[in-house]
Symmetry: C2
Subunit: 513 residues, 2 copies
């Protein structure tokens, strides 16, 4: 079966005719897929789910809402405020044009997107504020689910039939809800993460009483053989936890180490998960921040076509997930804006249905303002082609930022004690300090020296992130000193100043020069 | 001490000077209060909190962010995307003017609110998209916390010193997070609700394994004597749950019964809660939908002043809460728009701090688009005075809607079998059907007859809400048949058609002419 293309999506929309999705309309991915018939179904995961998750029933009023599909039905049932009282006649946004590769473009520099209160009734719009700003489905609006379904098929094309998607209020909520679904302290559950792990994920699991087990990493991410050995030899009594049945991983531009799993690494990890019946949470907010290696040449390379761009993206866990054992957690935070507090998850229909039941009582789904404005932006203004153009532009920009940071490392850091890899994706550089070279190193723990460097930087006006903040198992002894530095937020000038200061602090502590 | 006024708030802002609150700035209510020095402190609630709640530590990266307060600090620590890449130069909204009492107004019919990406840097703005659309505090932006603190002091003026507020992603999340803080199935926790209760609250507690205990109600809400007796005689073994330590109540225009607790009723319930060490969750989304009784006269009454309007509002639990035992859960859903998915909670500093720790891993707070647009609307466009004007306008509108529904009841419903009260607040009428008057009533259960009426309405094109959907304890036998009808959403014509149809269905089933 050929890969889906943007042209296929356009053709499907054309054939489907105008989308009709009024207030709180139900939608799922099957309504918008190009392909599914010849793929196998996902496996079932009932034995992975918590009692709490299994006990969730559909909201009674959401069930009642299905009667509203009948034409002419008058409802006195739902407590929805009248849209006549909404104090927003319309909302608009000024959108900057996406610069072309040379940064020179552009026939327009800014354009406007607008959504009115009654655009659906008064014209040929598919979405308006009377729908977006009223109560809706916790899964998100049909309008956004269509875009996300199309995007997922274009980019990941999951190899099983019954995959589904729903919106989230961001990856934080995605991780939180996934953990509530899968892990229960009453049955002694634990989960596996990278040995250095996104701090918020660890802070989510800890108060729930879920034990975190970190897997040793190399430059390619967690090491499958280490994971296999750990699981094969798991001793529940000794470990104080049931054998882990969930893997949480950030496969691209990992936070904090910046490492990116190769396709071969992902396949090896997936096989270990199949062997040990592990469910995979693929948290991949940096997936589209692939950093290019071809920008160092004198000539800007020509912009690749959409199909080349897509073909060059590494395979996600979702794209190799023949079992339906992956929940992929995606975000608009790094590629549009974090403040949208909106993302989405993709998994088998069974898992998405349970996820939505939870969202109905935990959040009722993301903001209607976010849905309205992001829909207007990514669907109507950009479309799938424009979104890919945007991503290519971001990649160019973040690549240039990374290169500024790496050049500053090269210029200002003492290489006798500092080492780093060049990250191929994301926002982070991960710096190792050979702390054993500190004068009188034996008198200090790694934690002491890490704190000494951190404080010396702070005193000089630079804030960096300690590696120890990200340890999956903070009770284990710290053997290495790392720092995480981001090239995402600061100006080139500030990055250079900060890295020079970091180098000065190190030289002072390590008595170099 | 005199009640706070809008003039006092204006004077405090004037004296405080321009607000400076950059990206992810920390804020709490103490920064914006008029009064607190002479009030007593709240009691502590440690023994009410769950193990999970007590185990929550502050997010390490949020703690690190406090170093950013130092002027000139360069951060390479936080993974915030660069605001230069935000694809929104500005957002705007067209806001309808608030009609005056006669509905005739108005010098303007519409005005525009706008927020740009760099308004703070380029002018005298207090909030802009570079802040609103980046990562922020889970408690919400300082800008919104200021407005909410002022509003709370104006309307409720809690009688203890250390009250605090934070934003939520809506009352659904407020209830959910409060339950996680307070109730734990592992210690056999239960909570008390009205005998007929907001379905989503029940659906939140059930999968968590929290037992719900419903308190019998009269026209004024839950009956304090019944509650006292239940708690005094609680037998944990027989009930299969620890004595309840949490009350969940919707005191105004209760969902589903439409009942509103009088001031005396609230005081009586509060005393029972003091006696039995009960923590109170006051979920009050309909508080400002007070329905007036003075609109039946021929002449429109003159619009009351802000101080008269505020003085006529009934006391909330928060306003009589000398112990700090109330968490008040407030919403923009009924008075602005539900799609904002934004509300706020007010409680003692101890409880708000725990609530925020949870929000940091559950949601990271509400959408920045919602915060930006609601701030521009309620703070800059309306101000506190304009918000009260808006509320008065809504009250007039919803009162007229209620009266249309009550007139239709009077005209179309068979009074021999149907009874109702006139709701003094909210969106709902609660209709009791004397099902014992159905021919051959003894052959059917109340549930059977309820379903028969529901189905007969559906067949005729009208959807109503069954009373049984809202039962706190659905396993108990159903003795009464109720239906909840809302006057919020439908047009006057549709309400009349639907009520007539409801009457026709009843006459057919009960063989009435």
């Amino acid at each position: 079966m050929k890969d889906p293309t943007i042209a296929d999506i356009d053709a499907r929309r054309q054939a489907a005719g105008k989308m009709v999705a009024p207030t709180a309309a139900y939608a799922d991915s099957d309504m918008f897929k190009l392909q599914c018939s010849r793929k196998p179904a996902a496996k079932r995961w009932d034995n992975h789910l918590t009692d709490e998750c299994l006990a969730r029933a559909p909201g009674i009023l959401k069930v009642a809402a299905r009667f509203l599909k009948r034409p002419g039905m008058i409802s006195l049932a739902g407590g929805l405020p009248g849209t006549d009282y909404f104090p927003f006649n319309s909302i608009s946004a000024a959108i900057p044009a996406i610069p072309d590769e040379a940064g020179s473009n552009m026939s327009e520099t800014e354009s406007t997107i607008t959504m009115g209160l009654h655009d659906i009734a008064s014209g040929d719009a598919t979405f308006d504020l009377s729908v977006a700003l009223n109560y809706g489905q916790a899964a998100g609006s049909a309008q956004m689910i269509r875009w996300i379904t199309e995007h997922t098929e274009l980019v990941h094309n999951p190899p099983y039939a019954d995959w589904d998607t729903c919106l989230t209020t961001g990856n934080t909520a995605g991780i939180y809800q996934a953990l509530r679904m899968l892990c229960d302290k009453n049955r002694g559950d634990s989960w596996i993460t990278e040995e250095y792990c996104y701090a918020s994920a660890l802070e989510t699991a800890l108060p729930m009483g879920i034990k975190t087990v970190g897997i040793k990493m190399d430059a390619d991410g967690p090491i499958p053989e280490v994971m296999d050995e750990l699981l094969t030899n798991w001793d529940a009594a000794k470990k104080g936890a049931r054998k882990p049945h969930v893997l949480y991983t950030v496969p691209t531009g990992q936070n904090p180490t910046g490492s990116t799993q190769s396709a071969a690494r992902k396949r090896a990890i997936y096989q270990v998960c199949q062997k040990h019946d592990i469910y995979i949470l693929e948290d991949d907010p940096y997936y589209f921040l692939q950093l290019r290696s071809d920008l160092h040449s004198q000539h800007n390379p020509s912009k690749p076509s959409a199909s080349t761009f897509l073909a060059n993206l590494p395979p996600s866990f979702l794209s190799i997930d023949t079992d339906g054992r992956v929940m992929r957690i995606d975000s608009f935070s790094k590629v549009v804006v974090p403040g949208a507090r909106m993302g989405w998850v993709t998994a088998s229909e069974q898992m998405i249905e349970r996820f939505i039941r939870h969202a109905e009582t935990a959040s009722q789904g993301p903001s209607g303002f976010s849905q309205a404005l992001i829909y207007k932006l990514v669907d109507e203004k950009w479309g799938h082609q424009g979104f890919l153009d945007r991503l290519q532009h971001l990649q160019t920009e973040y690549t240039a930022r990374r290169d500024v940071m790496l050049a500053a490392f090269d210029k200002f850091l003492p290489k006798s004690i500092v080492s780093w890899n060049s990250p191929s994706a994301g926002m982070f550089c991960w710096i190792r300090i050979n702390h054993s070279l500190r004068p009188n190193a034996k008198l200090y723990s790694a934690l002491d020296i890490e704190e000494e460097i951190f404080a010396a930087c702070l005193k000089r006006g630079v804030l960096v992130a300690k590696g120890s903040w990200f340890r999956a198992e903070p009770d284990m002894p710290l053997n290495d000193v790392f720092f995480r530095l981001t090239f995402a937020a600061s100006s080139a000038e500030n990055m250079e100043v900060a890295v020079r200061t970091f180098g000065t602090a190190l030289r002072s502590i390590f008595k170099l020069e």
